[in-house]
C-alpha cells in the first residue's frame, strides 16, 4: 500500500489544461464554453454512452477520456450509469438494426433538455458499413443529433470538444474532419 501511495505521489498531477493543446481547429471559445458548462451544470454534466454497433474503436477512445491526463472530473463531466441521470447521450456505431430499438428507448429515457453527440464516421454516416440489411446508416436516421464528431475513431480531445460544443448551444452541428 505504501508503494502505491509513493507511486501516486511521485507521478504527481497529470491533468492537462482544457484543452490540453491548442490546435488550430479548436477555437478560443472553448474557455467560454467551459465556463458555460460550469455555469449551467455546476460541475455536473452527466454523459451516457450507447454503443449502437461500433467496432469498439470509438469505445476505446471514450475510455481514454477517463485517463487522468484529460481531467474529465475537473471539467465537471462524468459518465453516468443510467440514462435517467444523463444530460448528454454519446452514440457510437452506424446503428445496427438490432440496436435501433434500444437506442430509441435510451434516448426517450433521458430527461429533457438533452443533447446527442454522434461519435465517429460510423455515427455520422454509417462510415464503412454504410446502410444495409443490418445497419441504419448513422445516428441521425434514428434520433435527433446535436453535434457530430467525425473521425475513425475521433481522439479523446475531439470527443471532449464535441461534448463541450453540444452544450454550448450555438455551435456548428458537425466538427470539421479530423486532421491527419
Amino acid at each position: 500500500m505504501a508503494g502505491l501511495l509513493r507511486q501516486i505521489l511521485s507521478l504527481g498531477l497529470l491533468g492537462e489544461a482544457l484543452p490540453p493543446t491548442q490546435p488550430e481547429w479548436m477555437s478560443a471559445e472553448v474557455d467560454h464554453i467551459q465556463q458555460s458548462v460550469l455555469r449551467h451544470f455546476g460541475r455536473s454534466l452527466g454523459v451516457r454512452l450507447v454503443d449502437a454497433g461500433s467496432c469498439n474503436g470509438c469505445e476505446l477512445e471514450i475510455h481514454a477520456l477517463n485517463s487522468p491526463q484529460y481531467n474529465l472530473a475537473g471539467a465537471g463531466i462524468r459518465f453516468v450509469a443510467s440514462p435517467r441521470h444523463a444530460d448528454i447521450l454519446l452514440v457510437t456505431g452506424p446503428v445496427s438494426r438490432h440496436m435501433e430499438e434500444a437506442l430509441k428507448r435510451t434516448y426517450d429515457a433521458i430527461p429533457a433538455p438533452k443533447w446527442v453527440v454522434a461519435v465517429g464516421d460510423c455515427g455520422a454516416t454509417g462510415g464503412l458499413f454504410g446502410e444495409s440489411y443490418a445497419v441504419c446508416g448513422g445516428v441521425s436516421r434514428i434520433i435527433p443529433v446535436t453535434v457530430t464528431v467525425p473521425g475513425c475513431p475521433p481522439s479523446p480531445l475531439r470527443l471532449l470538444q464535441g461534448i463541450l460544443t453540444a452544450v454550448s448551444g450555438s455551435a456548428p452541428n458537425s466538427l470539421p474532419p479530423q486532421p491527419e
Binding site: M1, G53, Q69, S82, A102
Partner: protein
C-alpha cells in the same frame, strides 16, 4: 503424418503459415473432424459460402487446427443440410446457428436451432449471405428470444443489457440466481451485427483492408495482418522482411496497449481506483507515442496487402526504446503493488474459474485459454517471420481464475517488451511494400496471434480479384460460452470483474 498424403485433393496453401486446403465429401466430414479431435486438435471456425454460380450449390467451410497447422476443408453440400459437429467440437454450436441465420444451411443432429445473430431485422426465410439476397424493406421487427427458463424455489432472473451501465459494447445477459449466487447465465449476442461479411462481397482489396481493421477495433492490427496474409497467400506475394518486422512490432504494441487498459479496468472493477489511473496513464502515453510515430493512436490502416504503410521515422526507434524502459519499470512496480494488496487479491483469487478440463473440452483459446492451461500461442507453435527468430516464451497458468488471467497479462507485457526490444535492434532494412499484382481467383487463409487470441481469416477472391467471400474470426467466438461457465456459482456483483478479465469482443463475434 500421412493422413493428407493419402488424399491428393488436400494441398498446401502458399504463404506465411502452415496451411492446407482441400475439398472433402460431406460423408467424410465427421470422420476427419473426429481424427483431428482425437489427436488434440481444435475447431477454429465453421462457416459457409454460396457457390451456386460456379458449382451449383453451397459449400460448408471448416477450419481446423492440428499438429501440422491449419486444415481448411471445403465441403460441397448436395442439399441444404450437413452433419452437426457440436458433439465433437462444442464451439461449433453457435457457429452452426450463425450459419443457419446467414446462409440457411441446416445442421442435422444439432440440439439448439434458435437464431443467434438474427434478431428479426430480416426474416427466418431470408439469408443475407446468399448471393441473390434482397434486403427486406422496411426492415423486420425484432422478435422475442426463447431464453432457457430456470425454475425452482427462490430462483429469479436478472436481465442485463443490451445497454449496460458502463462504457461497453451491447449484449444481453440473462442471470438465473438464488439470492446473490448465479445458477446459470445465458448470453444473447448479435446486437452489433453489421453485416460485415455481406459488405465485403465484391470489394477491392484496398477497401477490404480498411474493413478488416474495423472488425474489432481493439484488434485492428491482428485482423489487418490476418487479412493481408490471406490475400498474399492467393497472390503468391511475399512482403519485404522489414514490413513483416514492422507488422510484428505493431502487433506487440497492440498487445501491450490492450493489456495495460484491461489491467486498469480490472483494478477499477475490484474497487482500486488508483490502480485504474496508474495503468491508464501508461496506456495514454503509449497511444500518444503511436500517434506520433505511426499517425494513428490505435494503429488502424497501417498494414497493406504486400507491406506496411509507414516506416519508423529516424528517431522513432530511439523513442520507443526509451519508452519500453519506462513502461517495464512502472508495470513491475504496479505488479508488486497489486500482489501485496489484500483487497484486490481477495477479489481476483478463485473468482470466475474455468478449470483446465472444461477449457479443453470447449476448445478455449488465447489469453483466457492460456490462463486455464490451454497452451496455444501461434507465435510459439507456428511462428512466422519474425517470430521464428525470437523464441517466444508462452505465458500459462492453470488456476483459470481472474487472478490467472491477470497474471498472464502481466507476463505477456514483459514478454512483448522483450520482443519489441529485439525488433527495434534487429529490424532488417528493406523496402516496405512489394508491388501488388492484379488480383486473381483463389482461396487463402491468415492466422495471427492477436492480444486476445488467434485471429483467423479465410478469403476467396473471384476472377477479377474482387472479394467473393471473406470470413474473419475473432477468438471471442469460441471463448464467449466459457464466460457462461466461469460465472456459475459466483455472485452477481463479481460478473463485471469476470467479464472484464476475459474482455471478449462483441463486434468481433457478431460481425
Amino acid at each position: 503424418m500421412t493422413r493428407d498424403d493419402d488424399t491428393p485433393e488436400i494441398t498446401p496453401l502458399a504463404g506465411a503459415i502452415p496451411a492446407r486446403h482441400g475439398i472433402v465429401a460431406v460423408s467424410d466430414l465427421r470422420a476427419r473432424s473426429l481424427t483431428v479431435k482425437e489427436q488434440g486438435g481444435r475447431l477454429i471456425s465453421l462457416w459457409g459460402s454460396d457457390e451456386r454460380a460456379t458449382t451449383g450449390g453451397y459449400h460448408l467451410q471448416v477450419a481446423l487446427s492440428d499438429s501440422d497447422g491449419l486444415l481448411w476443408l471445403s465441403v460441397p453440400l448436395p442439399s441444404l443440410a450437413y452433419p452437426a459437429l457440436e458433439d465433437i467440437f462444442p464451439n461449433a454450436a453457435r457457429m452452426q446457428r450463425t450459419l443457419h441465420d446467414l446462409l440457411g444451411l441446416h445442421p442435422e443432429g444439432a440440439r439448439d436451432l434458435r437464431p443467434w445473430v438474427r434478431h428479426g431485422a430480416w426474416s427466418a426465410h431470408d439469408f443475407p449471405l446468399r448471393k441473390d439476397f434482397v434486403p427486406p424493406c422496411p426492415a423486420g421487427r425484432l422478435e422475442d428470444y426463447p431464453f432457457v427458463a430456470v425454475t425452482g424455489q427462490g430462483v429469479h432472473e436478472i436481465p442485463v443489457g443490451p445497454v449496460h451501465a458502463g462504457i461497453i459494447e451491447p449484449g444481453h445477459f440473462r442471470f438465473a440466481v438464488v439470492g446473490e449466487r448465479v445458477l446459470r447465465l445465458e448470453e444473447r449476442l448479435g446486437y452489433t451485427h453489421k453485416g460485415l461479411e455481406k459488405r465485403a462481397e465484391g470489394m477491392d482489396l484496398d477497401t477490404l483492408m480498411r474493413l478488416a481493421g474495423r472488425v474489432s477495433g481493439d484488434s485492428t492490427v491482428a485482423f489487418s495482418w490476418a487479412t493481408a496474409m490471406a490475400a498474399e497467400s492467393i497472390l503468391a506475394l511475399k512482403p519485404p522482411p522489414r514490413a513483416l518486422w514492422i507488422r510484428a512490432l505493431l502487433l506487440e504494441r497492440e498487445r501491450i496497449a490492450q493489456h495495460l487498459g484491461d489491467l486498469g479496468y480490472l483494478c477499477n472493477d475490484a474497487g482500486l481506483a488508483a490502480g485504474f489511473s496508474q495503468f491508464w496513464i501508461l496506456r495514454e502515453e503509449w497511444l500518444r507515442t503511436q500517434q506520433q510515430i505511426f499517425g494513428h493512436r490505435l494503429l488502424m490502416d497501417q498494414i497493406t496487402v504486400g507491406g506496411v504503410e509507414h516506416d519508423l521515422y529516424p528517431d522513432g526507434a530511439v523513442e520507443m526504446t526509451a519508452e519500453l524502459g519506462r513502461v517495464e519499470l512502472r508495470v513491475r512496480q504496479l505488479d508488486d503493488m497489486l500482489q501485496e494488496h489484500a483487497g484486490v487479491q481477495d477479489r481476483f483469487l478463485s473468482t470466475g474459474r474455468v478449470k483446465p478440463d472444461m477449457a479443453a473440452r470447449f476448445g478455449m483459446i488465447g489469453l483466457a485459454g492460456r490462463a486455464s492451461a490451454q497452451a496455444w500461442d501461434l507465435r510459439v507453435q507456428f511462428p512466422s517471420v519474425p517470430y521464428d527468430h525470437c523464441d517466444v516464451r508462452m505465458a500459462t497458468q492453470s488456476s483459470g481464475d481472474v487472478a490467472a488471467r491477470v497474471r498472464v497479462r502481466f507476463e505477456e507485457i514483459h514478454e512483448s517488451v522483450r520482443l519489441l526490444r529485439h525488433f527495434l535492434v534487429r529490424m532488417p532494412h528493406s523496402a516496405l511494400q512489394t508491388h501488388c499484382p492484379p488480383g486473381c481467383k483463389g482461396s487463402g487463409a491468415g492466422w495471427v496471434e492477436g492480444w486476445r487470441g488467434e485471429v483467423f481469416v479465410a478469403l476467396q477472391l473471384d476472377a477479377g480479384g474482387k472479394v467473393q467471400r471473406w470470413h474473419p474470426v475473432d477468438p471471442s467466438t469460441t471463448n464467449w460460452p466459457l464466460v457462461e461457465q466461469a460465472i456459475m456459482g459466483n455472485i452477481v456483483p463479481d460478473f463485471p470483474l469476470i467479464n472484464k478479465s476475459f474482455n471478449l469482443s462483441y463486434s468481433g463475434q457478431d460481425l
